[in-house]
């Protein structure tokens, strides 16, 4: 009975570490790598939002799917936007952080509008989100 208890304890510790590694990292001082990761993740959200908007405009999605999925994307973008607004970074990275914070707000706003957008707005939002994704590249 005693032999497996050590690996079990080690496993529990590793689980806790993994959960911490997965859950932490919001806000605080951002390194260049962290900024780049934030940018990558925002680009993904913008790009997926653009794809959703384009398909919604073309009548290839249901209204419910567009609303629910854009809401999910919006929540993630909004969370990123909030943590970027509260974040600090070293002086030379400040312009990048400001640009990223602005784009996060823009992407988050566009995704929020997408859920209830008309066909014309969907086309416009697809274009806007594509543009934001390209800027974030």
């Amino acid at each position: 009975m005693s032999a497996p208890s050590h690996p079990s304890r080690a496993l529990v510790a590793l689980v806790a570490l993994a959960l911490l590694a997965g859950g932490c990292g919001a806000g605080g001082t951002l390194s260049a790598k962290a900024l780049s990761q934030e940018s990558k993740s925002l680009q993904s959200l913008a790009s997926e939002g653009a794809l959703l908007a384009r398909n919604a405009h073309a009548g290839r999605t249901t209204r419910t799917f567009t609303r629910v999925h854009s809401e999910e994307l919006y929540k993630a973008a909004s969370k990123a936007s909030t943590s970027l607004r509260a974040a600090k970074t070293e002086p030379k990275l400040e312009p990048k952080l400001r640009k990223l914070t602005f784009l996060a707000g823009k992407v988050s706003g566009d995704l929020k509008r997408l859920g209830h957008a008309s066909k014309t707005e969907q086309a416009l939002l697809a274009h806007e989100l594509e543009l934001a994704a390209r800027t974030l590249q």
């Binding site: 689980v15 570490l17 290839r60």
Partner: protein, 411 residues
């Protein structure tokens, strides 16, 4: 073989295809495709052959020795290590079951638009009722057949016009392009873990014992495991090809369960989207029931309780209580609001750690003449079994360090 038998085999294969993909396959195949394109298709082949090798073995052990996997685990590795394996497998089963329940609720939300939290209890009640009311074979059939909606991803893969030469190259292991080596290795481990997830063999072997398999089912065992899992792997290819064609060029990192259906919508419109959502709903729902039963099977077999879906609930009361408790705990986990996709990533990676203790007893017993008589492993089954066991050991050691070093594949 009579027409009736051919039909039975065909139906079994169809339900195996629909039942092959679970939330782990959905998450890892689309993420791998979106990160490395078609370069990891070879890993799916390795994983599918692995699950075929070990499923065939445990189906044969169940048919000949009438022993399910966890019965053998305790006997072969002893009470202490067996208990460790039971605890580890129960944690993984619970995480997987919770992720699948969350997946069902998300699918329902994407279909009906109702609030996610309100849909979680609805999903759990629907799953518990299905598990309680439907006979064993109907659970497999209903969820397996409706899970065939996932075939829409194969059509989408063709409609999206991937570069087939590059797709073909993806079946040959080689140097990876793009992304870091550690992330590449993380996905190798994740894809193998998703394909060879332990609950599948627990469920398969216990199901074979419940169905009263004997020597005459050995052929059925071979056909079902080879063709069913083989064609099920085809769905994994489709998911990876779709993600590599549509998401990779757009730098989309699929972090939501709604992302893969978006690819079906892009290729096939509203009908494609609805088929994908229904396919995911039933594939994931079926997997939730399978993980829950697996947990109950394992516990009952380890402690020597009376067990079986075919038993009256009162006659196998501890077994029945066990699967009800697992559903209740999964419900509580999902209600905490933890993201089912993240939970899936953790459950797949932790399941890899539990793989060796699941597969070793199967390999040992399948080679033991005192259990198997003349139906022991042949040379091919042994070579493949040993090679895969080495692979399993290697990925079990690497899984958690890779997850920590790559921040769950984020680099």
């Amino acid at each position: 073989m009579s027409v009736k038998n051919v039909l039975a085999v065909a139906l079994g294969i169809l339900s195996a295809i629909g039942g092959f993909v679970d939330i782990g396959d959905l998450v890892f195949n689309t993420q791998a495709g979106a990160t490395f394109g078609y370069q990891l298709l070879w890993v799916v082949v390795v994983g599918v052959v692995g699950i075929i090798v070990y499923s065939e073995m445990c189906g044969r052990v169940a048919a000949v020795a009438k022993r399910p996997v966890f019965d053998l685990v305790r006997e072969r590795v002893g009470f202490g290590a067996g208990l460790g394996t039971l605890i580890a497998s129960q944690i993984v089963n619970l995480m997987t079951c919770a992720a699948e329940v969350g997946g069902v609720a998300i699918c329902l939300q994407l279909l009906a638009g109702l609030p996610y939290r309100a849909l979680i209890p609805l999903a759990v009640v629907a799953l518990v009722l299905s598990a309680w009311v439907l006979p064993f074979e109907w659970i497999e059939r209903v969820f397996g057949y409706l899970g065939l909606g996932l075939l829409v991803f194969a059509v989408a893969a063709i409609k999206l016009h991937p570069d087939w030469v590059r797709v073909a190259h993806g079946f040959v292991p080689g140097h990876h392009v793009g992304g870091s080596l550690l992330v590449y290795l993380y996905f190798v481990v994740g894809l193998l873990g998703a394909a060879m997830t332990p609950y599948e063999v627990y469920f398969y072997s216990s199901g074979a014992v419940e169905d009263g398999w004997g020597l005459k089912e050995l052929g059925l065992n071979k056909v079902t495991s080879m063709i069913g899992y083989g064609l099920g792997g085809f769905l994994s290819f489709a998911l990876m090809i779709v993600a590599g064609t549509l998401f990779l060029p757009r730098n989309i990192d699929p972090q939501f369960l709604g992302t893969p259906p978006l690819a079906a919508a892009d290729a096939l419109g509203e009908v494609g989207l609805l088929l994908a959502l229904v396919g995911i709903l039933f594939a994931v729902g079926g997997a939730a029931i399978e993980t829950c039963f697996s947990g109950a099977y394992n516990t009952a077999q380890f402690f020597g309780w009376r067990w079986g879906k075919r038993e009256q609930p009162a006659a196998a009361s501890r077994f029945t209580l066990a699967w009800l408790v697992i559903f209740a705990l999964a419900f509580l986990v999902v209600m905490t609001g933890y993201d089912p996709v993240k939970l899936t990533e953790y459950s797949v990676i932790f399941s890899v750690v539990a793989l060796p203790l699941t597969y070793l007893p199967i390999l040992l017993v399948a080679n033991d003449r005192s259990y198997m008589g003349s139906n022991v492993n042949g040379r091919l089954a042994n070579v493949l079994g040993v090679v895969y066991f080495v692979v399993i050991l290697a990925i079990a050691v690497a899984a958690i360090p890779l997850m920590l070093l790559t921040n769950g594949g984020q680099g």
